[in-house]
Amino acid sequence: MSKKKDQEKVFEIKWKTNLQYRYSIGKLAVKFFEELKKNKKIMGSKCPKCGKVNFPPRAVCADCMVEMTIDDMVELPPKGTLEGFTVVNYPFTDPNTGGMRPFPYGYGLFKLDGADTYTMHFVNETDVTKMKIGQRVEAVFSEELIGDLTADIPYFNIVKEEK
C-alpha cells in the first residue's frame, strides 16, 4: 500500500453523515406544482401593494414586507429573455442525489415575460458560441408532468431566430 494511503489511515477518520430533511415548501409552492402538473402552467406571485411580479413565487414581497397568498399568484408564459449564461464544466457531488452531477451543462439566467425578477435554470446548449445575452428562451415540458420542477421542465431551449 502506498505511503499516502498509510498516512491517511493514521491521520484521518472518514465519516458520512446522512441527514434527511423533509422541507416544507409552503402553500404557494404547492399551488405552483399543482398548476404545473395539472394544467402545464407556470405561476409567479404578484405583490398586492407594489405590483411586482416575482418568479419563483414566494410568500413575502421583500420590498413592501407584505404577504402574498395563493390569490396573488399569476400565470406567466413559458417564454423569456436570456440575461446571462454559462456552461458548467466541472465535477461536484449533487447534494440532492449524493452522486456526481453530470457535466458539462448549460445554465442560464433569464426573465420570464411579465416577471420582474430573474431566475436560473438549465439551458439546453453546451456551446457558448451559440449563446448570447438577449436571446429568447422557452421552457420545454416533459411528456408526463409529475409536479417536480426539473422533472417537468428539464430545461429551457434557445429559440432559433427566424432568418
Binding site: 430533511y21 409552503g26 410568500a59 420590498d63 414586507m65
Partner: protein, 380 residues
C-alpha cells in the same frame, strides 16, 4: 451601562409540525405581527440579528432564506448560530455601541424537518465521542444519573418539575403541549436513558419569536412598558463530557454570578420576581435552581418540594410552561426573554406573576448546559 429596552415581542403558537409553512414564512409571521403590534414599518428598524442553526434548517447559511422575511434587503443583518439569548445580547450590544437605535431580534426553529437525534449527534466530535452515538437523550441520562447519585435527589422530585411546567402551560396560549400530567404518568413513562423517561424530556416543536430592542429615549416613546436589560453573564463549560462537571452546572453558576453582579442582585430568591429557564429535561431544572443560587448544591429537589418555584411560590420558575412544554430548540432562549418581557410589562394574562418587577431569563447552547447566557431584566 446605558439602557436598552425591549419594546415588544411576538411569538407563534408552538406546534409539533407546521407543515404548511416554510421556516421563512414562520419568521415573517412573527415579524409582521410585531410591525402591526408596534405600529411600525421596516423603515423604523435599524438592523436585524437572527438566531438559527444550519443543521436544523437543512441549509448552509440558513439565514439566507429569511432575508425577505426579516426585511433586511439593503440593510444590515447578522446571524448568531446559537440560542436566541445570544442573539438578544448581540442586538443589545449594537445599541450600546451607539451604532443603531433599534434592532429587530428573531429566532426560529423547525424541529419537524429533520431527525433531531441525528442532528444532536453531530454536536459531538468525530474523533472520540460521535461513534458512541451520543445525543441529548443519552447525555442527559448520564448527567441525571451522576447528579442523583451524588445528592440523593429522587425521580419523584424530578417528576414534580414536569408536573409544574405542564400545568403552567395551560395558561400559555402559545404552548405546544397543553395537557396536565401526573407524577405517576411521568414515572411510568417509557425509560429512554436511565434514569430519565420519555416524559422527563421535552417535545420537539416548530416555532418562531421576534422582538424589537431600542435605545432608551426611543423605547420610552414606543411603549409605556419598556423592559430594560439589567444584567448579563455568559460562560462556557468544557466540551468533552468527561471534562465536564456533570453534577453541578458550573458554566451556568458563573454566568449567573456575572449577571447578578451587573444587576446588583445579592439574594436572587428575594430580589427576583420571576424566572424563565431553558430546562432540557426534568432534573436539569433542579440543577438550574442550584446553579442560579436559589438553594444549595443538591437541594434542588427539596426546593421544588417546598413549592418555592410554583406560581404562588417565592420564585416562580417557568410560568410559560418552559421547554418541557414547547421546544423549538434554537428559539428557546429568546422565548424565555419574551416571556419575561411579558411578565414585566404586566401583559402575561393568565400566567402573570403579580407585581413582577425583576426577571431572569436563561438560554443555553449545546449539550447539557455547555454554553450559558443569563439575562436579567427590570421594568423600571
Amino acid at each position: 451601562m446605558d439602557k436598552v429596552g425591549i419594546v415588544g415581542c411576538t411569538q407563534t403558537k408552538y406546534e409539533a409540525d407546521k407543515i404548511d409553512q416554510t421556516y421563512s414564512e414562520l419568521v415573517f409571521e412573527v415579524v409582521k405581527k410585531l410591525h402591526n403590534k408596534l405600529g411600525i414599518t421596516n423603515n423604523d428598524i435599524g438592523c436585524v440579528i437572527t438566531s438559527s442553526n444550519d443543521f436544523n434548517d437543512g441549509r448552509t447559511i440558513a439565514n439566507m432564506a429569511i432575508q425577505d422575511a426579516v426585511g433586511s434587503v439593503r440593510k444590515a443583518e447578522s446571524r448568531v448560530s446559537g440560542d436566541g439569548t445570544f442573539a438578544y445580547i448581540y442586538g443589545a450590544m449594537r445599541i450600546l455601541s451607539e451604532s443603531f437605535d433599534t434592532v429587530l431580534v428573531v429566532s426560529h426553529c423547525k424541529c419537524s424537518e429533520v431527525n433531531q437525534y441525528l442532528v444532536n449527534n453531530t454536536i459531538f466530535d468525530p474523533y472520540y465521542q460521535r461513534h458512541l452515538g451520543l445525543d441529548q437523550i443519552s447525555s442527559a441520562g448520564l448527567m441525571a444519573n451522576m447528579y442523583m447519585n451524588k445528592y440523593g435527589v429522587t425521580e419523584e422530585q424530578a417528576a414534580k418539575v414536569v408536573v409544574k411546567n405542564r400545568k403552567n402551560a395551560l395558561n400559555n396560549p402559545y404552548a405546544h403541549l397543553q395537557k396536565e400530567i401526573t407524577i405517576n404518568e411521568v414515572l411510568n413513562s417509557k425509560m429512554l436513558a436511565y434514569p430519565l423517561k420519555e416524559l422527563d424530556f421535552p417535545p420537539f416543536s416548530d416555532g418562531a419569536v421576534a422582538m424589537l430592542l431600542a435605545k432608551e429615549d426611543i423605547a420610552k416613546k414606543m411603549t409605556d412598558t419598556p423592559v430594560w436589560l439589567k444584567g448579563y453573564g455568559s460562560c462556557t463549560d468544557a466540551y468533552y463530557l468527561g471534562h465536564r462537571n456533570m453534577t453541578d452546572l458550573i458554566g451556568l453558576e458563573l454566568a449567573a454570578r456575572e449577571a447578578y453582579k451587573m444587576a446588583n442582585i445579592n439574594d436572587p430568591v428575594k430580589e427576583l420576581d420571576v424566572c424563565e429557564v431553558s430546562e432540557n429535561f426534568s432534573i436539569h431544572e433542579l440543577m438550574i435552581y442550584e446553579a442560579l443560587g436559589f438553594c444549595a448544591s443538591g437541594e434542588g429537589g427539596k426546593f421544588i418540594e417546598e413549592g418555592e418555584t410554583e406560581m404562588n411560590g417565592s420564585i416562580p420558575v417557568n410560568p410559560s410552561g418552559g421547554v418541557l412544554s414547547s421546544n423549538p430548540i434554537m428559539a428557546n432562549g429568546l422565548i424565555r426573554v419574551a416571556e419575561i418581557a411579558l411578565q414585566l410589562k404586566g401583559k402575561a394574562d393568565k400566567r402573570q406573576v403579580p407585581n413582577a418587577k425583576i426577571g431572569l431569563a436563561y438560554g443555553m447552547n449545546g449539550i447539557c448546559s455547555q454554553g450559558n447566557c443569563v439575562l436579567i431584566f427590570g421594568g423600571e
